[in-house]
Each structure stands twice: as structure tokens, then as C-alpha cells.
Symmetry: C4
Subunit: 207 residues, 4 copies
């Protein structure tokens, strides 16, 4: 993969424009990254505090695997340690995307005590990498939110080591982390989860 990945972050900027339009990264919420090379690890990640609907070449930093800044502008996102943890925990990951949506927030509220949102029986699940039938049960762990991002990153590492088959994690009343081999796959996962969160969220009230 390393050879073919462009250093340009146009694909992350485009995802930002679309997610902003859909109200999944309002305010300056959300953050996006992609891997530039795995060995040595180099990632491109959004700088902190930017509006995600209008990212450009000056909106990203290049970091190594320890989070040291190698280039770019501004301060890296406060949640950089979570991104790096996910890249380390799942070797196939080439992009990590994080969004905050209304329906996700509502579901995380509803399912926090149960520990996870479980989604089963929908054709849209096949949009998640490796899922080949609607009969699949997808588990999205919901974990406590915290301002201690190092501890949050450790908790995410624990969750992934127990359930390496998951495609995303929800931080309670905060937002979704998902990932993919490419930016395009990670973006597809965002869309799939947001679609299913809205279906489940709306059904909470028609049951």
C-alpha cells in the first residue's frame, strides 16, 4: 500500500465537505487521518480546531508513530493518540475517521449501559468491509467518554484486542470512530453506520 498512497489529503478534505453538509461534523468537531507509510509510520491528520467543511492543504500535519510533528501547520488534533492506537492495533488500517452525529449521540445514550449497539439483519451491513450477508450481527462497543485521551486510547486498544472483527467504536455522547484500508473505505463505513444509526434511532420510537 505504501507506494501508491498519495501524500495529498484531498480525499480527507472531500470527506469533510460531505460530512459537514450532512451535519456529522458541526462546529469544529470530528477529525480525520490517513496513513502515508506504515514502516516507518507516517500519518497525515487534521490540525486541531478547524471547520471540517473547508479543509485544504494547510489543514493537515504529518506525524510519525509517536505523534512527533514532521511537517504541516498548526497543532495536531487532541485525539491524535486514538488515531495512532488504531493504526497500531489493526495492521490493515489506512485511514481513521471520527464524526459526531445526532442519531449516533442518541443511540450511544440508549445503549451505553448495555455496552454496545448491536445491528443485525440489514442489507446495508454489507457495506462494512468483509461482511457478505445481511444476516451478520455488527457490534459497535459504546465506551465512556473522557478528556484523558491517553487513557481513552488505551481503552480503545483493549476493546479492539478483544473484538478485532469490529468496524467502529462509539464514545458515549461524543462520536464514532471508524476505519478502513483506504480513505474511501473508511468514508463508506461512516455512511453505513450513520444510515443504520438513523434507522435504529427512529425505530426506538415506533416500536
Amino acid at each position: 500500500m505504501e507506494a501508491s498512497v498519495s501524500k495529498s489529503s484531498d480525499d480527507l478534505a472531500e470527506a469533510g465537505t460531505e460530512f459537514y453538509r450532512r451535519a456529522w461534523v458541526l462546529g469544529t468537531s470530528g477529525n480525520f487521518s490517513k496513513m502515508l507509510s506504515r514502516d516507518p509510520m507516517r500519518i497525515s491528520i487534521t490540525a486541531s480546531g478547524l471547520e471540517k467543511g473547508r479543509l485544504d492543504d494547510t489543514s493537515f500535519l504529518e506525524l510519525d508513530g509517536e505523534g512527533t510533528i514532521l511537517g504541516g501547520f498548526g497543532k495536531p488534533s487532541a485525539e491524535t493518540s486514538i488515531h495512532l492506537t488504531i493504526y497500531r492495533a489493526i495492521p490493515s488500517v489506512g485511514s481513521v475517521l471520527h464524526t459526531h452525529s445526532v442519531w449516533g449521540t442518541i443511540l450511544s445514550d440508549k445503549f451505553f449501559e448495555r455496552g454496545a449497539i448491536e445491528i443485525e439483519g440489514y442489507e446495508m451491513l454489507k457495506g462494512l468491509s468483509g461482511v457478505t450477508t445481511h444476516e451478520h450481527v455488527e457490534t459497535v462497543p459504546v465506551i465512556a467518554n473522557s478528556q484523558d485521551y491517553v487513557e481513552l486510547a488505551r481503552e480503545i486498544e483493549r476493546v479492539i484486542s478483544k473484538r478485532p472483527d469490529i468496524h467502529g467504536i462509539y464514545l458515549y455522547r461524543h462520536g464514532l470512530y471508524t476505519w478502513g484500508e483506504t480513505v474511501s473505505e473508511a468514508r463508506r463505513h461512516i455512511e453505513i453506520f450513520e444510515f443504520l444509526f438513523e434507522v435504529l434511532g427512529r425505530q426506538l420510537r415506533t416500536a
Copy 2:
């Protein structure tokens, strides 16, 4: 019709852009086709795995009536057999469109056991080809979802042969198939059904 149909699939690409904006084909869900000629049968259909919001000339394949590839790029949609079945079952059909929406998914859940969504008394029904009054009752059969697309195609054929007057079929927790004499008519049918699904879905909770 054959003489005047353009081989260009710009009209399908435009429908994709609009449906994506409205969140009816998130992820890489949905697929679209149009007939290029009926005898011999030639159709243009979206390749598998593409984002439907940005289709272009390289996003379509030309197939014959058996699904043999005659030109174009990529792999045909896994649901090609459903498209071909609809073209064979209803001679006037010139386009088949398939979308996945939140409200459609919710309604299919609610009405699966009853076997169909029935819609009656709305002026918008007049947007369906041949319907001339709001007093019309439109039946949208809801059939079980399956990963066996050949069997699904057969079930769709059975449903259409019993109810040749319908304008669409819903696959349970999966999505809508509708059709029309032209891409424009099929697209209008998508919009009419999605509007009515949202009305009915929202009313489930105000009753």
C-alpha cells in the same frame, strides 16, 4: 423507443448524484440501469461497488439479456439478474432504479408480516405512471431479503406476474426497486415512493 435512446448514461449518473444528496444510496448501495435496445436486449447498468454520488462514463457496463458483458468497465452489479427479470417481465420498462432509504427500511420492517405497504388517498400517488386520482390504492409488495439473487429474481418475477399493475417492490430491510418507461419516469417513481414512505413512516408515531 430503441432508436431514440442515447447510449450515454448521464441521466443515470445525474439520478445518482441527486439520490446520494438525499441519502437514498449511502455507502455504495443502490444500482441503476436503462435499456439500450429491447430486441436484442441490451442494457447499461452500474458496475459493482461504486459510490453512486459520482458516477461517470466509466461506471457502467453494457450487457445483453443473459447478463453477458459486451463492454464497459468493472464487474456488473450483483443484482443484475433482478434488473433483467424486470425488463423481461414488463415489456414497457426502459429503466430500473434501486435505492436504500431510512424511511423505506423502517416501513418494510413494519409491514413485512402483512406482505405489502398499502398507500391510499394521497395526491402524490398521481406521480406514478397511469394513476389519475388520489383515490388510488398503491400496493408495494414487501418480500424477504436474500443473498441468493437468482432466487430473489424469481420471486420478483412471481410477484409481478400476479400484480402487473404495481410500480415497485420492497426487499425487506434492504431497499426499493422501481421502474419506468424512461430514466426520468423511474426517477420520478423513486421520488414519489420516498415522499410517501416518509409521510407513512412519520405517521406511525402520530397515530
Copy 3:
């Protein structure tokens, strides 16, 4: 007014693009008109069966006060008699707009037996021409739908003659008619009513 009204229907086309984006004229629903001169009466009105999101110069007909075609393309909207009735009934009207929305449809269902949707106490009411305080009570009569547009037009005339202070009428499970001195004012009335319909519609379920 006559002297300054442009014969161009760009303002109606622009309204169509915006209403389509907001899903208020899906399918080929809705129709729009503006007065070109009052004496003798000349109006420009959308042709029948067009998608309202992409109107252009070829989408409109010029009619006299009897509905006779003086120029333009296609067939006038089937609801032309309703437009002409409103122009005759309220001398200050310079534009009539008709849309079909999800929330309007739901409210018309809920309030049909009561005969009207009553809206009171919202600041947004001040967007209706002549309303100067949120303490205003706006009445939107809800009348039975019919395919007999001549009879519908007569019923609308009766309603307006009894309540000349109203700003709009709802056809049951069909759509909203509103009007204004200019296209811009009529368009503002659509936006105000749709906003308030959504507020009331959503509150049906939180009460």
C-alpha cells in the same frame, strides 16, 4: 405593478430549484405562477408534468384570464383554474405558489376534520405579509381534495371570500397554496408555512 414586472420567469425557476432541494416539490408535483399584467390579465405559469428543480425559459406558458394560451410551450398545469381564481379573488396578488411537503401532508391529515390548521404565538408568523406580532392567530383552511379542479377552484373562491385575511389554503393530503404581491413574497410565505408546519408536526408527538 404592471410596468415593472419582468416577463422572465427566472424567479419562479429559482424558487423551484430551492423547493426541490428541500423536498417540497418531489416528482413533478407543485406548480408556480406570476402575474404579468392585471388588466388585461396575463399570467406566466409552469407547464404540466415538469420536474420543478430544473425549470427554464421553456417551462412556462403565458395565459390570459380565461386560461387561453398566448405563448410558451407544452400544456398548462391542470391546476391553472385555481391560480386564476386566486388572482381574481385577491386583487393585490402577483404570484401564486403551490407545494407538496411531508409535514404539510401530515398536518392536513390531523386537522382535516377540524377544518383548519391554526398557528399562534410564533415569531415566524411575522414573515406573513401584514402580520406585525407573534400574538397573531393564522388560520390555514384545510379543504377536501378533488380531481375536479373547477369545483376545487370554486371552493377556494368561497373560502377566500369568507376569510380574505388568510395567506394560504391546504388541500387535504395534497398540498399548500399560498400567494403574495410578488414572487419573492409568495416564496417567503411558503418558507414560513413550511417552517411552522414542521414545528407543529413534530410537536404532535412531544405533547
Copy 4:
């Protein structure tokens, strides 16, 4: 700050376009201002009665701290006194934005008797200036609506003097006032509040 603030109101116009797209300033609702200099006080504010989705250089007036017109076009917004009051009450404020949304209106209805909307425990709260943890409790006072804007301005002054830590005030069934050091910060506050209002509003019905 004074030296670096552009007199151009492009940033307010851009906010208007985005808010209109999201249906937060339908009709001609809403009004926006920014400070040009504090001493002597000079502000730029939207003229009355304009559509907020298409503001340009001719849509703004320059006023002094008493509301006297120094330049620009049209009549200043009827709510100018509220803007001036906020600039005087909070010395750090460089922009004041006012919007009308469906979810805000619904919440103001629900919480009017309690006197305030309280929001606690959401990560998105960190988008409000100075808030550093989701454990923050944000209070949005809900005050009675009135057509006496001078009295409304006085009430807003009283509320701010008691609670100088708040980021916004809701006028009952009317709309949100929020502010920030810059247009960009005030706009972020609008987005944060609207996101949280929608979460709370939707949860009224899933509880």
C-alpha cells in the same frame, strides 16, 4: 482586535448562506452583526427584511453604538438594540448571530416555564468558547418574546449581568441569540447549539 477586523461582511454573508441551507433562517428571519471597532463603537448589521441566504455588500449597514446609521443601505434590523446591548454587556464580543430553528423553537416551548434549557454531558459542549470538558453544564436562559425590542434588550442585559458565563439566550418561540469574539466563533456557537437542541429535542420522545 480593532485593527485587524475587515470591514467586509463576506463572513456574515457566508454564514447566512449556510444557515439558510440548514433551514435556520427561513423566510427573512434572523439577523447578523459584527463589530468594526469598539472605541468608538462601530458595527455592521444586516438590513431589515432581507433573505439571509443571499446577502452581499449591499445588505449591511454601519451603525455607531447608539444605532445611528453611518453608512450602507436600507433600514437596520428591528432587533438592532439587542445586538448593541450584547456588545456593551460583554466586552469580548466581536459578533452576534441570531437564528430561528425548528428544534430550538420546540425546546423553548418545552423549557419556557423552567426558565432555561440545561445541557450537560455532551462532548459537543467543548465547541463553546472556554468549555474544556463534556462534564460542563451549559444554561441557555429562555425569556419571553415581545415586540418591544427595547424592553427585550433590557431583559437580555439583566440576564447577562446575572449569568455572564452563558453563550446564548433563547427568545421563547422566536429564536437563538449567540455571540463570539469573531464571526467564526459565533458561527461555531450556532452550530453547537443547533446540534445539541436537535439531540435534546429528539430525545424528548425517546425517553
